[in-house]
Assembly symmetry: C2
Homo-oligomer: 219 residues x 2
Amino acid sequence: MHQTFDLGINLLHVNQDGADHNRAHFDQWGITCFNLMSSPGAGKTVLLERTLAALSNKYKIAVIEGDMTTELDAERLRKYDVPVIAINTGRSCHLDSKMVAGGLHRLSHEYNPNDFDMVLVENVGNLVCPAEFEVGEHFKVALLSITEGEDKPLKYPIMFQEADCLLITKIDLAPYLDIDLQQIEANVRQMNPDVTIIPLSTKTGVGLEAWFTWLTAKL
Amino acid sequence: MHQTFDLGINLLHVNQDGADHNRAHFDQWGITCFNLMSSPGAGKTVLLERTLAALSNKYKIAVIEGDMTTELDAERLRKYDVPVIAINTGRSCHLDSKMVAGGLHRLSHEYNPNDFDMVLVENVGNLVCPAEFEVGEHFKVALLSITEGEDKPLKYPIMFQEADCLLITKIDLAPYLDIDLQQIEANVRQMNPDVTIIPLSTKTGVGLEAWFTWLTAKL
């Protein structure tokens, strides 16, 4: 999408300044921020549902929920009795640091931000652009549904290079697919040797404890 | 992604001029062009494999294959003995009309473009941006994997509003998912009442004849 570079103006630098500003606020408040990214339908929202159900009584959590339109996902998460700030990006294919700054502004006005342990950002479903637009997160979490195939880490390298944690979702479907989980992992490692890889299923619960352990160890 | 509008420069208009130019070439050559778009892993490449296997002896077909990196998909399609022009978009999340113009330039130098009936463009896997950047196609074909869930047409409206044909893929997985195919169709219709909807599975073959019929009827 970076025809913008043809104009000699680096919008990524402008975005990065805003991300650094957001991160300074998170640090000041003692909040760890995670940016969850994936293709549409890889299971970000259901993962957040399981995460809030398991952790929201032990940790103070807020969610920033990015969607082009609708508050469908935000409504699902509000049932867990945590602050959910919905950001509609309109025609934009990713959250940017300015949008998230607006969300933090609301959070810090309606609550005491020093009370919070973590902010979970659910980005717009897109395996390309969100990886390039930091929003001030401390950690990037990428989800790849096993249904998407083995080759995606090779074909969409930036997301996999940038991720601190890679969740391979919907592994309950593995018996019905001609897809090799170990090949997915090998392709991810080729892009990013040190990333944490956690295969999981929100349907069976496999892998969720490993995810909660990784997440809370980062606080 | 259109921070670019903040600069007062409408890159979409520049792209549209290029798309109109490409379409004029297609018309002059008697070629019908289809732009296939979806999230990563919805099955665009395997659909093209099935399509080439079924139709490449009856029609003269060329493929323009867009990927950020690698020629993995292009290599899969070259086995079908049709011209496959690979375009690596680098960091760009979609094909644009200028990239496709480069592809047409190669096609028209290496072959007689008047011989061709159709050009199938496989876009970068992304449910957002490709819908806004025409490449000169006559028809937009969107794929939605049934694994992505019922709500995607509501959450990513532009793709579904723009599509002339919507293929719901991987329906062989329906028995293993808590997903209602009729609800997907209803949500698509809410965005685009007149779109052709074809549920299919490249694994079982269900729906492929309907797809071939739709495709060849447009020539």
